[in-house]
Symmetry: D2
C-alpha cells in the first residue's frame, strides 16, 4: 500500500453514528488526571492539538479563531475591563487574549485540573505565550463552580471556557440557572458574562437550553457562532449582561474599538468577523430559539449521547 495509509488515528465521536477520523503523526503527551485523559497530539492535517477525553479542544492552526471569538466581543462590550475572571481555559490562550487588553489590571483564572495546566505550560507555548508568567494573572487550581458560588471578589468580565456539559463529567453544573445567578452576583456594575455554549449546529437543543437559561437570568443575552475548522463544525457562544445590550456592538465600529483597546492585531476578529458571527441564519435561529427548556441543578442539560 502507498504511504498514504495512515495507522495512528484519533476517532472523535460526535454521536454513536458519526465521527471524525484524524491521522496522528506524533503522540506528544498522554496522561490521565483525576478528571480526564489528557493528550497532546500532532495531527497530520491540523498540527499540534490538545485533546481531552478524545475531544479536540483546540489545534494550533486555528485556536485563535475560537479564543478571539470567546474573549473579544465580551471585552469590547464592556469597554474598559480592568478585572476579569476566567473559568477553565487551561491552555492559557483565553488568558493570552484577555491580557492583550490594555485596561486589564487583574485576571483570576480558576481551572480544576492541575495536570492540564502543567501540560499546557510545557507543551503548548504557542497557546499561552507566557500568559502564566504575567504578573496580572492569578491562577487558582480549584472548582470554578465552588469559587463562583462563594461570596468574593467581583469582576468586569467573566469568561467561562469550560468542557462541554457531558453527562459523565462535572462540567454540566456550570451550565445551569443557579450557576448563572451566582455569576451575576460576581459581576461589577456594567459587567459582562460570556460562555462557550457547545455547537448550535451539532447539538442545537443543548445550545438552545443554555441560551434560554442565560436569557432567564440576565436582562440582555445574545448568541453568536463561528466556524472552527479543527472542530469541523460551527461553534457557539452566549454573551450576556444586565447593563449592556450585546446588540450595541452591531452599531459600533469594531475595527476602531479594537485599535483603541487591544495590543497587537487580531488574526480573525474584526468588523467583518463580528458581522459574520452575529448573523445567525434563519434555519439555525428557528432551531435554537424553538427551545423552551431551562437547565437547573435538578434538571441539567447534557450534550447528546
Amino acid at each position: 500500500m502507498g504511504e498514504a495509509y495512515r495507522w495512528n488515528w484519533l476517532i472523535e465521536w460526535g454521536t454513536p453514528s458519526s465521527a471524525h477520523m484524524y491521522a496522528v503523526k506524533k503522540h506528544i503527551f498522554q496522561g490521565r488526571s483525576e478528571f480526564q485523559e489528557i493528550q497532546v497530539l500532532e495531527y497530520e492535517d491540523l498540527g499540534k492539538a490538545l485533546v481531552l477525553d478524545g475531544k479536540t479542544q483546540s489545534a494550533i492552526i486555528d485556536e485563535f479563531v475560537y479564543h478571539e471569538a470567546l474573549v473579544h466581543p465580551a471585552m469590547l462590550l464592556h469597554g474598559s475591563p480592568e478585572k476579569v475572571l476566567i473559568l477553565g481555559g487551561g491552555e492559557g490562550a483565553t488568558a493570552r487574549e484577555v491580557l492583550r487588553f490594555k485596561a486589564v489590571k487583574r485576571v483570576v483564572m480558576v481551572d480544576i485540573d492541575p495536570v492540564v495546566i502543567e501540560v499546557a505550560k510545557k507543551y503548548l507555548p504557542e497557546w499561552h505565550q507566557g500568559s502564566f508568567d504575567d504578573p496580572r494573572l492569578e491562577l487558582i487550581i480549584g472548582d470554578g463552580l465552588k469559587y463562583v458560588m462563594e461570596e468574593g471578589e467581583t469582576f468586569d468580565v467573566i469568561i467561562a471556557d469550560l468542557a462541554d456539559p457531558i453527562e459523565a463529567g462535572p462540567a454540566y453544573k456550570l451550565y445551569v440557572k443557579e450557576f448563572y445567578e451566582a455569576v451575576k452576583k460576581r459581576l461589577r456594575p456594567g459587567g459582562v458574562f460570556v460562555t462557550q455554549a457547545t455547537s448550535p449546529t451539532l447539538m442545537p437543543y443543548t445550545f438552545g437550553v443554555i441560551y434560554n437559561t442565560i436569557r432567564s437570568v440576565f436582562a440582555h443575552a445574545s448568541y453568536y457562532m463561528v466556524y472552527v475548522k479543527s472542530f469541523d463544525s460551527m461553534w457557539g457562544f452566549v454573551l450576556a449582561s444586565d447593563d449592556k445590550d450585546p446588540e450595541e456592538l452591531n452599531r459600533v465600529n469594531i475595527d476602531e474599538r479594537l485599535a483603541q483597546l487591544v495590543e497587537g492585531e487580531n488574526r480573525f476578529y474584526d468588523s467583518t468577523g463580528h458581522r459574520w458571527m452575529f448573523s445567525i441564519p434563519k434555519h439555525i435561529r428557528t432551531e435554537v430559539e424553538g427551545v423552551k427548556e431551562i437547565a437547573t441543578m435538578d434538571n441539567p442539560v447534557f450534550t447528546p449521547a
Copy 2:
C-alpha cells in the same frame, strides 16, 4: 455490546489523513454509471442523501441551505431572470429553486449522467419536487462543457452545479479560464454567472484559484460561503458578471426583493443569511486572496489528493 455499535459505515475521505464516518441505516440504491458510483443512502444522523463516488452531495436535512445559497443571490442580482441555464444539478433541486422565480420562462438543464437523473427522479422526490415535469424545463443529457463551448442560445443566469474538479474526473475542465470565457459568451446583457467552487476552508488553494480565474474573465466577481452541516464544513461559491456588481446586493433589502421575485418562502436565505454568506472572516480572506494562480485547460486546478 450495546446497540450503539453501528456496523454499516460510509467513510468520506477529506484527505488521506482525515475522514468523516457516517453510520448508514439503509442502502436505498447503489449503481455504477459510466461516470461514477451512485448511491442513495439513509444516514442515521443526516437522513436520506445522494452520494457520488463516496462523497455526500446533499442530504435531506439541509440540501435547502446549499441550493438556496447557490441559486438565489445570482437570481436576485440579475433582478428579472427569464432564461436560465443549469450545468449539472442532477438532483433537480437547483432547478426547483430556479423555477420558484416568477420571471423564469425557460430553464435549460444539461447533465452528463442519465443514471443520476433517473435515480433522482425515483428516489429524491423531496429534492426535485416535480421540477423535471415543469413545462418550462428542458433537460439535456450531455456534456456541459461541449454545450457551452458551442454557439447557441444565451441566458440571463448561468448556474454551474458541478462535481468538484478531481483529478480523476472530467469536471475539472469546467473550472478553467477557457470554460468561463465560453460561459460569458452565453450570457445575455446584464447576465450573471454563479458556480459552486469547493470549500474555502478545506481546500483554500483550489477555491482561491477558481475565484481568481473567474475574476480574470468577468468585470465583477465576489465569493461567498455557507456552512453545510451534511458536509461538516464551509462551502463556497463565486458570483460574477460583466454588468452587475455583486456588492450591490449588500445594499438592497434582500427580504423585500425575495418577496417580490420568489414564490413561497425560503428556509435559509434571507437578509441575515445573505449578510452571513458575504461576510468572509479575515483569516479566510487572507488565504483565498493570497492565491495568484489561474486555471487553464493546459494547467487546471484540482482538489487536493
Copy 3:
C-alpha cells in the same frame, strides 16, 4: 486520493476495543426481519457474504471450511446417518453437506427466520446448491428450542448451526444444559450431536462454558477448531454422543471413510484437515479446559459485550 480509498465499509466489532473493517463493493440485499438485520454484501476481499446484525456469517471464499467442519466429523462418527436434524443453518449449506452423505434419507431443518431462508434461496445459490429442493429435506420455519423440547421424531445426527449466544438475542437458550438434555432425548441409539460453539480464541470463556455444559450431559464430548479466514479467527465446535467417542475418529482413515460415505470430494476436510482440527494447542487447551462453569436457563452464558 488514489482509487485505493474505499468508502463503503462494514465494521465488524469483536469487542468495544477491536474490530475488523471490510470494504464493501456491492450491497446486494438489505432487510430487517423480526429477528435481525439481514444483509447480502459483496466484500472487495472476501466476495459475497451473508451478514446478520453486522456479523459475517459466511463468505463465498471459504464457507466450505466452516460447513464441512461442522457437518462431516459428526456424520463420520455416526457412520450411517439416515435421519438428520439441522437447527438453524439458514444459508442451506449445512443441509447441502448433510445431503451429500449417501445414507441420508431424511433431513429436518428448523430455522426461526423465514426472511433469511428467502434471502438464501434467492441470493445464495452457491451456498445451498439446490438443497432446498431436495425431496429428502423438510424445512420447518419455527423455534428450534421449542421443536426440540417437544416430544417427537428422533435422529441419528443433530446439528446446531445457530447464531452466537448474544445477550440481546434469543439464541442463547440453545446453549444451555436443559436444551442439550432435550437434544439427547431426540437422538436415536448411536446418535451424535454437534454444535458450533463460538471462537475458542476470541472468547475462550464462552466456548469453555459451552464445552463444559455439553460434557456434563453426554458421556463423550470433544471440541475442535478451524481457522476461518472470513472470520479472521479460529472457530470452534463441540461433538458429543452417549454411545460413540469422538476420539475414535483419530484412529480411523478419514480419507477412506469419506470416500465410502460421501458423494463428491471435499474441499477442506480430509485426514490432514481432521488432524489439524483436533490438535488443540496447549495454551488454548489450558484456557478452555480451565473453565468450570455450566450454562443453564437460569444462568446462561453469553458472548462478551
Copy 4:
C-alpha cells in the same frame, strides 16, 4: 455515549480493502529510526505490543506462540545446536527461546535497527527476559544481508526473524534465492534454516513464492503455520536443510525431545502443537503449492499492496 467509545486507534491495514482496528490504551513509546516508525503500545485487548510501521510485530498475550513456533522445530530438527545465528529478532524473544536450549554455546544476532534494540531493552523486558545480557549472545547492529553474503563463521541453525518483504522496505532482499544460497554456505554440516515467511492465508502467493524459492535451494523444505491471535490470522514458516528432512520430526516424540534439550517448559509448542502446525489443510496446500514462481534479486516477491 457510553465509556465504551474508544478514541485512540491503531488501524492495521491488511489490504486497501480490509483492516483491523485496535483501541490503544496507552502510547508507551513512539519514535522514528532510519528504517521505520517504532511504537510500543498498550492495546486495550492485547496488552503491550511492538508496532513497526503500523504493523503489530508481537503482543504480550501471545508472543510466545510466534517465538516458540519460529525457534523450536528448527532446533529440535538439528538435535544438538551449539552455534545459532539470528537475523532480525529485535525484541530479543527469539534469542530468549534459542538460549533456553542447553546445547547452545554461542548466538550471533544481527539486527539492522539500533533503535528497535534500545526500545526492546527498555520497554519489552517480558520479551527478552535478559537475553541481551547473556554472555553467549553477541549482538551486531548491521545489515543481515551483508553479514550473510560475506564469508565468515558457520552455524548449526540460522533463524530469519525479519520484517515482511514490503516493496518500500529493504527486507525483501532477504527473501530471494541469492540470499538463501548465501545462508546455506553459512550452515555447518547438519545445519538447519528457518524463516518466518508471511501468512499462508492472507497472502498465499507471497508465502508460496518464499516456500518455492527455499525449496529450490535446499534438499529438504517444509512449511508450517500457527494461528497468532494478535495478528488475527495464521502465520507461516519455512524450515529447510540439506541434511535433515523436517518430516522426521513427525515421527519423533516432541515432548520427550523438548524435555531433553530445553530448560523450562514451553507454553505453546509440544507434541500436539507440532502436529497442529504441520497439518496443513487441503485448501491451503492447494493455494501454496500451486505457486510456481521463485524470487530472485532481480525479480523479488513482495507482500500485496
